[in-house]
Amino acid sequence: MQQQETDLALITAVLNGDTAVYSELVKRHQRFVFTLALRFTKNREDAEEVAQDCFVKAYRALGTFRQTSKFSTWLYSITYTSAMTALRKKRLTTVSLDDETYTLQPLNPGSASDADTIDKKSAYSYLNIAIDSLLPDDAAIITLFYKGEQSLEEIGQALFMEPNTVKVKLHRARVRLKEKLQSLLKDEVKELI
């Protein structure tokens, strides 16, 4: 709530002519917007372009921001639109969960040294790989739900979907993630999760 109030105060300052303050808003949200863009584009260069485009569009439209919702929700809806436009332009191919050509090799369940190396960091990197292998919409929903502090309604608002659709997609994404982690890590999945 405090964060939201501060965002609104910054927006008011920008609208009153103190445009340099916008840098603070960018700093605050850049990490998440970039991550969200990455869920769609699957590569850092394109994600950077989408995230920059998103912040510029948000700046242009700042005067039209209705302060009845969270700034972050509004910003994520712009990110979603920008990312979808970029996707359509580039016609990026996404890697399906069922894609047999997926290059990541599962760990050898018999190797004790491999099992030992599954520390927290690698667990998260496997998680990120698994998320990246989801459909863009599903990956975005997972990210918004867990890291964006967004409710199902807010996610629906950002991605132009019904909250029920978001819920179904969230469930489907989590089922797939679990399956993916199990296929990536074989027996180690029990230790990981």
Partner: protein
């Protein structure tokens, strides 16, 4: 009908009613399969909650601010729409409608066998010259373009 997994996810997410919550808690306590699945999904949930977001390149903020510097500074929509403009446009249209109405009424001859109303004939043709009509249409066109421009700007965002 929800699957067991859906029910447990709803429980973890806190999307259940008090009654449903109690039912799931009982099942977790009494059914080993339920309990096992609950542990598994809770662990997945924990890891998802702990995932890290990606950091954009160092120059990201600076690049955005450089791009933003070339843009027109945003202003609140409330201050952007000057009320005087709205009143002027409104007055123009009201006057235009009234003029047309008066002209139409004045050109109508009211005749009745019972009552004979005095007929007032005003020759508006001296006012509605071709030049006046051209100016009127041009102003309409101009207002139309202004509206179209603001509409497209909003759509571009």
């Amino acid at each position: 009908m929800k699957t067991i997994e859906e029910q447990i996810w709803d429980y973890i997410d806190g999307h259940l009613t008090v009654e449903e919550k109690r039912t799931i808690e009982n099942k977790i306590a009494s059914d080993a399969a339920y309990r096992e699945l609950y542990k598994e999904l809770s662990a997945v949930n924990l890891h998802l909650a702990g995932m890290e977001t990606d950091m954009p390149p160092m120059a990201f903020n600076r690049n955005v601010m450089e791009m933003v510097a070339t843009e027109i500074a945003p202003v609140s929509l409330k201050t952007k729409v000057d009320k005087r403009i709205i009143y002027a446009v409104g007055t123009f249209f009201i006057l235009a409608i009234l003029s047309i109405l008066i002209y139409a009424v004045s050109q109508t001859r009211f005749t009745s066998s019972a009552v004979r109303l005095p007929v007032m004939v005003i020759d508006f043709s001296q006012y509605f010259t071709p030049a006046f009509i051209k100016i009127f249409l041009f102003t309409d066109l101009l207002l139309g373009f202004i509206y179209l421009d603001s509409f497209l700007r909003r759509k571009k965002i």
